[in-house]
Symmetry: C2
């Protein structure tokens, strides 16, 4: 069995793989590597355009791809499905960093941290004005779209701060850490008056453009909107309109339809919008956590051809 | 019994006070009010320079002052003690907002929120650089100076994020939510290598200038230092030196020795320093929470001359 690397691993991880029986490791391709030289590769770890080229070659040997991300919307899912290739992701490892990221913005907003940073740049001591704006998180409501690993972890921390959590998913099924759940598309009064709204949905045909003008127009609580899901789920023009019309008190976008954002984009200077460069899922041991999933799946796959965790449903797209 | 107001109350609160037997209310003084007209006032709610003037008058009638703050270092404690006046503060009501404020900065720092805000102003998409810096809070150590209401509440939330909490107080006595406690002045290795250090000490002779050069020099963990206590506890020049020499990764000052900070102060532009204008203890129901303490003490005081909560030890200064 041949494993092709499209993501860097450490020397120690290399040794762990080398100790597995019946496994040959094919190192990262260089700019000169011919995809045809990978025709006998069975398994790929990571993904990039080299993988796309290999997948398009007839008689490629691919049986399984282990991505290093949770979202796999950037991969050629139709071709993967059509060729009968299995796909696993790293869903789960991003839950902790993304939940901490979201809580960080909730508190930075509610406690006047974002406003203080702005005032500092202008050398302005705005004590009285800010004291009238800051509020405690306790007893405010957060609406979270996506009740998987990430949404659940966010809701868990929100409960630590005595917040009310409502969740939205495909069918409105209940989920741990949520005080109530609804089908995405429902607009209960708790959503309309929520103080915080978070998108943690995977990108699928259904969730593309989900947060558009009519979504923002129904809101009455002047919430802070946070996108830690995927950029194309939000209609950026509609979001900017909602900010300009104060339907939203603010917005945080960690993901955008087109990344990186060009230096001359007007979005950088949109009032009450905070941008971060797609970092919410990062943490110091990311590579090790992703490798741990590869390794567990690999041991099982070499033993009996089964994958034991994080297999993607190619029809659902997550 | 006469109660003089030096802090605004609502109409509803006025009615609550009016319903108490044997209590006369003296409204807020104007610029023209002669302090001598308050000579028969027994109780004061709030404090300002008018109170200072009244206190200096011979034959004033003051028996009890209810402050609207937790820290009372700005009041003439020696004169209050010498005249046998009782003093109560609002210690306790700031614990929740200050703890949320501190957690907000921990997360804004660890998750790259502060760095993203800075990059946004420069229109820079710094994804790779930031992804290498961000880290999860879990398993990092926070050292908290002050283990009262505020320190305990901060430690509580830090435990929610699976952090290790060490506390410092006068004698090193144990306190809830702290994994270990030490006497202030001790320098255990857990302090030296801590990732976060928070000052929540009251200002007394002992804590004035406590955080000076030798304190910062002992640190090896390049922590973020946060002051939510009182400004004069930190030697600002030593702090700036520690930032310049990277003994500290960053610092957050919500309080300063002199407030407000002048617009032309160089401190505004100190790299890796985040300033907020003394807002950490604020929240939307501040006035109501402070009044609730006044009202409970007042009921007891009118009944039998006793104060039932938040009496300040005038020798200790908190």
């Amino acid at each position: 069995m041949k494993l092709g690397l499209l993501f860097n691993i450490t020397a120690a991880e290399h040794q762990q793989l080398a100790a597995l029986p019946d496994l040959e490791i094919v190192d990262l391709p260089t700019a000169n590597t011919d995809p045809k030289s990978w025709l006998d590769v069975d398994i790929i770890y990571g993904w990039n355009t080299f993988g796309d080229q290999l997948l398009q070659l007839p008689h490629n040997h691919l049986k399984w791809i282990q991505s290093i991300s949770a979202g796999i919307d950037y991969m050629p899912l139709a071709a993967i499905k059509q060729q009968g290739i299995l796909l696993t992701n790293t869903s789960g490892i991003h839950a902790e960093p993304i939940a901490e990221f979201v809580l960080g913005y909730l508190l930075a907003f509610s406690r006047g941290i974002l406003a203080s940073t702005q005032a500092q740049q202008q050398h302005r001591w705005v004590s009285d004005a800010l004291r009238d704006q800051v509020f405690n998180l306790s007893h405010s409501t957060i609406a979270i779209f996506g009740t998987g690993h990430i949404g659940t972890r966010i809701a868990h921390y929100c409960h630590s701060f005595a917040m009310t959590t409502i969740g939205f998913n495909t069918a409105g099924h209940s989920a741990p850490e949520f005080d109530a759940t609804f089908a995405a598309g429902a607009n209960p009064s708790a959503l309309q008056s929520a103080k915080f709204i978070v998108n943690a949905l995977p990108l699928t045909a259904k969730t593309t453009g989900f947060f558009e003008q009519s979504f923002f127009e129904q809101l009455t609580g002047q919430p802070l909107f946070i996108n830690v899901g995927r950029g194309p789920s939000v209609d950026t023009a509609a979001l900017r309109g909602a900010l300009d019309q104060h339907k939203l008190a603010g917005a945080v976008l960690d993901v955008l339809p087109d990344e990186p954002l060009a230096p001359d984009a007007t979005l950088w200077d949109q009032p009450n919008l905070w941008l971060s460069p797609h970092i919410s899922g990062g943490f110091e041991d990311y590579g090790a956590a992703a490798f741990a999933i590869l390794f567990k799946n690999l041991q099982a796959y070499l033993a009996d051809g089964q994958l034991i965790m994080n297999q993607v449903d190619l029809d659902k797209g997550y």
